[in-house]
């Protein structure tokens, strides 16, 4: 039983790493948001700015995955990654903002392109 549990959890050092490099770096920003956000009004100008920055940081995360692809995504050529996301966006616009249609067509274009490139 104890051995099974040890196998499931792994060593305690790894859990400490998860706490320091995973949990705390994320939770700290959430708690700062909770702390500072309490005084912010829903329609305030500050919130418009904060939302614009959040959106732009998210855009940065998206761009980073496309420009500097992790793992297996690096096996897909640059032009194909960009074309897949662009086509997903076009379909999303054409289908009156269907995320499902956009995601599926972007993925299909990537798979078709990868098959065609070989």
């Amino acid at each position: 039983m104890n051995e099974g549990l040890a196998h499931f959890v792994g060593d305690w050092h790894a859990l400490l790493v998860l706490l320091i490099a995973g949990f705390l770096p994320n939770e700290i920003w959430r708690l700062i948001g909770l702390w500072l956000g309490a005084g912010v009004d829903e329609g305030s100008q500050l919130l418009v700015w904060v939302r614009a920055v959040a959106t732009a940081i998210l855009a940065g995360v998206i761009a980073q995955i496309l420009v500097q692809p992790p793992g297996a995504l690096a096996s897909v050529p640059d032009w194909l990654r960009y074309a897949a996301v662009a086509s997903g966006f076009v379909v999303f616009m054409l289908t009156r903002h269907s995320i499902f249609a956009g995601v599926v067509s972007g993925e299909l274009l990537m798979l078709a392109g990868k098959w065609w490139v070989g």
Binding site: L18, W49, I99
Partner: protein, 256 residues
């Protein structure tokens, strides 16, 4: 049984704002959990966490470790960054810095979600769990669903929604961990492409004002430029700059 087409059309309607169903917090929690089935983002989340589970297996982390990371970190990109930096032999400090930068986006997300949840009676400690659940999926869904939820039941609703999304993700993490050895490279690439695709489209759908749309476009365009300087905080610099320019344009066009 609902017809299969409805699964993709998300017809799930919440009760009217004055419906007696909203009188119970427990019922609001259940309605929040059920809303998990009303969005394609749940499928995206599922696939993303299958990918994260597989990545954890390949980088020799235990199943318990990666499940704990899904539960406690609860931010897909951060978990991918954490696994790939630790897996490539980086120090704990290097991994912590990379994850901290990627997580900054959570701060404005929390700030924009919380005002939708608060009532004059709400204490800060009532919002701690909702704050933890806040990540891109919950953020997008809050903007979509909360206008249909009476204000005094929104915290319970978000707790249900968050618990549902976390449960789906924990299941997917375990499945991905189990399947890891059998995942072909093409499938792994397709899963990794899901994150930018779904993040882009869900953010685009959440754009409510010119400032939001402009921030998205400028943020995409500016990152590759800033990345050429290898500052280590490229996302922070391009995000702050693009977001502030977008706000300035908004302010200039609609003086308060």
């Amino acid at each position: 049984m609902r017809p299969a087409t409805q699964l993709f059309r998300f017809p799930l309607a919440l009760p009217a704002l004055d419906s007696p169903q909203w009188q119970s917090s427990l019922r609001a929690f259940a309605l929040g959990t059920r809303s998990v089935t009303s969005t394609v983002l749940t499928l995206v989340l599922f696939a993303t966490y299958v990918g994260i589970g597989a990545l954890a297996h390949d980088t020799h982390f235990s199943l318990g470790w990666v499940l704990a990371s899904t539960l406690f970190v609860w931010a897909g990109p951060a978990q991918i960054i954490l696994l790939s930096t630790l897996g490539s032999g980086a120090t704990v400090v290097q991994a912590a810095v990379a994850v901290t930068v990627s997580a900054i986006r959570l701060f404005p997300m929390v700030v924009s979600v919380l005002p939708m949840l608060r009532t004059p009676q709400t204490k800060r400690r009532h919002l701690v769990l909702a704050t933890h659940f806040t990540a891109v999926t919950l953020w997008v869904e809050c903007f979509r669903l909360l206008p249909q939820v009476p204000r005094e039941r929104r915290v319970a609703f978000v707790h249900g929604l968050g618990a549902g999304l976390v449960s789906v993700s924990l299941t997917a993490t375990a499945i991905g961990y189990g399947l890891a050895a059998n995942l072909p490279e093409l499938f792994a690439a397709a899963i990794l492409l899901l994150t930018p695709l779904s993040f882009l489209l869900s953010t685009a759908r959440n754009c409510r004002q010119l400032a939001d749309l402009l921030a998205l476009v400028l943020g995409l365009a500016l990152f590759p430029v800033v990345a050429m300087f290898h500052t280590g905080v490229d996302i922070l610099i391009s995000g702050m700059t693009a977001g502030t320019i977008a706000y300035a344009v908004h302010w200039w066009r609609e003086p308060q």
